[in-house]
């Protein structure tokens, strides 16, 4: 029998184009879906300091007994946030509200905290205590009732940071403004 060449030789290789339409459709669904599930935000942060652990030096300490007692002047600024409003206090004084009782800044009639009032009070306090030699003039501790929401704490910290500034000179002799309260802490008043 004579040799017959294989018919495979005659098979033509056809080039087929890839159908991208299903992938395109999937992409068109996926992208709006992912976009709708997200939101464009710009993040920021607030610095938080912890109150110092423990008290002052022990009175039995021989070093402190030998040296003459020179207690630094401390103002001990505190801001207490309660369901009724905000109270400002120092080591020896509590700022009373307008009626003489209740929080320094009661909540507004619409139930919001009086942040404008806080801004003014802080400005007044800074004017009063600034440059009087208080060691902790730029420190404030925020404390609140257990149920006070985080947003209120953060907004209070914002107001405290933005209310007053201190002018300082940098190395080049240029005047730089920085927030008055460099140390904003949170704590709990234990009675």
């Amino acid at each position: 029998m004579a040799f017959k060449p294989s018919q495979r030789r005659t098979v033509k290789i056809e080039s087929t184009e890839l159908d991208l339409r299903p992938i395109m459709n999937m992409m068109c669904i996926l992208i709006p879906l992912l976009l709708s599930c997200s939101q464009f935000v710009k993040n920021s942060w607030l610095e938080l300091n912890l109150p110092p652990v423990g008290g002052g030096p022990s009175p039995n300490n021989s070093e402190t007994q030998d040296k003459p007692k020179e207690e630094p002047k401390k103002v001990g600024l505190k801001l207490v946030i309660t369901e009724k409003g905000m109270t400002l206090a120092g080591n020896t004084v509590i700022l009373a509200g307008e009626g003489g009782a209740g929080p320094t800044l009661p909540k507004l009639t619409d139930g919001r905290y009086d942040f404008d009032g806080l801004d003014k009070k802080i400005k007044d306090i800074v004017k009063t205590i600034g440059g009087k030699g208080f060691e902790d003039e730029r420190v404030i501790i925020i404390t609140a009732e257990d149920g006070i929401e985080y947003q209120s704490i953060v907004t209070t910290m914002d107001v405290l940071t933005l209310a007053a500034t201190k002018e300082l000179k940098d190395q080049a002799g240029k005047v730089v403004k920085e927030p008055w309260f460099v140390n904003i802490g949170v704590g709990k008043i234990l009675i």
């Binding site: 464009f40 935000v41 993040n43 920021s44 946030i81 942040f115 985080y150």
Partner: protein
């Protein structure tokens, strides 16, 4: 002279053109990859998380990536892993230290100290707290105290940068 129709026009074949989708595909692929990457990293595009809506902040500070603790309405997260339920923490009345979080932070602090001693990488004691805007103060305080007790003293409260109109509602 009789009108003679144009031979070239008559014989012109209408060719079917195919849409070249390659460039379109490239754009879509890049967009899809960008979106997927944005979901898995910190950035301007944030995923809406159920129970964790950060508070609005007025002070503009540029965030940087560091160790983070999350507080949602349901659980406390360490590096995005839930470690303890919020209800369980709130039920602890006598303690201000969250044990589960303390263990994780202690582990992390030990690792950082080890790296500092071996390779000189400074342990900055930084911790970012990302909490839901409705988180109660006592829960926040417990997290803060737990962090402080485990050497993380440089705390940062993370939020979304906003304007006074949105914050004060005026």
């Amino acid at each position: 002279m009789a009108f003679k129709p144009s031979a070239s026009k008559k014989n012109k074949r209408k060719e079917e053109g195919t849409l070249n989708m390659n460039s379109m595909m490239d754009i879509l692929t890049i967009m899809l990859l960008f979106l997927l990457m944005s979901f898995s990293t910190e950035g301007s595009l944030a995923t809406k998380a159920d129970g964790l809506k950060p508070p609005l902040i007025l002070v503009n500070n540029k965030p940087k990536k560091t160790l983070s603790v999350g507080i949602s309405s349901r659980a406390i997260y360490f590096k995005r892993d839930p470690i303890v339920d919020v209800d369980q923490v709130l039920a602890q009345k006598n303690s201000y230290v969250i044990q589960q979080l303390a263990e994780k932070l202690d582990e992390e602090a030990s690792r950082a100290i080890d790296l500092e001693s071996k390779f000189g990488i400074e342990f900055k004691k930084e911790l970012v707290i990302t909490a839901d805007e409705k988180t109660p103060f006592n829960l926040l305080l417990k997290v803060v105290i737990t962090a402080g007790r485990n050497q993380f003293s440089n705390l940062r409260l993370m939020g979304n940068l906003s304007n006074p109109k949105d914050v004060f509602g005026e």
